[in-house]
Subunit: 283 residues, 2 copies
Amino acid sequence: MQIIQTVQEMQCFSESLRNEGKKIALVPTMGFLHEGHLSLMRMGKELADVLIVSIFVNPIQFGPDEDFEDYPRDFERDKKLIESVGAACIFAPEVREIYPEGFQTSVKVAHVTQNLCGISRPTHFDGVTTVVAKLFNATRPHCAIFGEKDFQQFVAIKRMCQDLNFGIEVIGAPIVREQDGLALSSRNTYLTAEERASAVSLSQALFEAKTMFDAGERDAVNLIELAHKIIRAEKVARIDYIKVCDIDTMEDVSVISRDAVMALAVHIGKARLIDNIVLKPAD
Amino acid sequence: MQIIQTVQEMQCFSESLRNEGKKIALVPTMGFLHEGHLSLMRMGKELADVLIVSIFVNPIQFGPDEDFEDYPRDFERDKKLIESVGAACIFAPEVREIYPEGFQTSVKVAHVTQNLCGISRPTHFDGVTTVVAKLFNATRPHCAIFGEKDFQQFVAIKRMCQDLNFGIEVIGAPIVREQDGLALSSRNTYLTAEERASAVSLSQALFEAKTMFDAGERDAVNLIELAHKIIRAEKVARIDYIKVCDIDTMEDVSVISRDAVMALAVHIGKARLIDNIVLKPAD
């Protein structure tokens, strides 16, 4: 397995694979890998001939008061995990390789980024779509796989890829959860034992709302109220948002008549955790 | 010569050429071709195995009061000219192919786009870099050639290409002029005979400033004042700007100690014309 640190080397590596007719899958990550990432990588291995995994903690998608510095990193551990899946290479550039002096270009997706995390993290998605555009150009994959835990991110990247004609298939992979339901996240490592116990309320709230939805409830306000109640019962939890949105536009919906996503963000201790569940009225 | 109207067909065409090991040059145009465009195409033919010429009058780079509707178009004439140069294909998509319903992504270069035309045309360069990113992804060339008449556009595209790691060589080609000095532009067609006579003042102003510069003048204010005087002598001319800028940052310079560009924009009748000249103190 190769470890590549420069864009130019990465492009040469990909170009020669493409010339051999190989299909390339990219799994972009910020490292500190967990079973969720591994599931994306295994999907990549199945869908393509060659798997590239990128590790880059992207400074421009963090706000000034966010956890860029503290974000957990463990390259040696990540390397072993990626090798175990059978990736052809890790693309792990330094920050100055991705943002050299004079860098001044951004890629912005205007609408689907406005709601949800776009409200509390106003520069976040511009940072995400900009770095993903760069990673796409550096690795030139045929497909790229993203976890649906970051649902709005997935929608924004799909939109960006389509709007800018990258010609890359953007694939979403289902959320991987702990046994008790907590969605896997590198940020779960921030939680104390007490906080970890409270964090299960996020998925519980979503599951109970889904049960209510499956029983026929179509009024978003009632689903949201139920979820609020469950999470508010945890003293250490501070809700950023709980919303029900159209699955394509990410706009709030009041009555669920087509596919929607119930998404939430909750601060627990030092961690800001997100989770979501899809609600399909036709099912 | 093929005429391709969809992004998907364009990408297939390019991909199969790349797989054959062919080097591709792109010349992006808005059509209504003149000798300036033809010089870019000939350069493309020399630099690469295959030349792709795109024709697309890009609505999002025009302001609401600008000439998108009136911009001259003559596809049949363009087609003959492009064929005469030996291009492999014309990529001529419809507006709805490039901007389908739901389109919402933009590519922005922050700094080099602020001065000069960025002041009088505040949304122009976002429109340019967005469409060029799309054209790059649609045609996947190895190099792309732009005329240096649109100097700031050339700098912005070079920056965008580098910042987003397109891996495409962006090449500037010298301005082509009429015998009397007027820079070729599709918009020259807007000029009446009287206006056409006055329009020569733009290049005259630049040439005379360059003569003054070559004689040792390094103070931008004096060069600008000379140019102003020459153009103001023409009653039909209304100056938008005349500036001397750093060739990399596009910021105003007062004393020319490294490579600079003297750039101007002047309204004459219905036309807004631009022109520029490079000033190199080391020459």
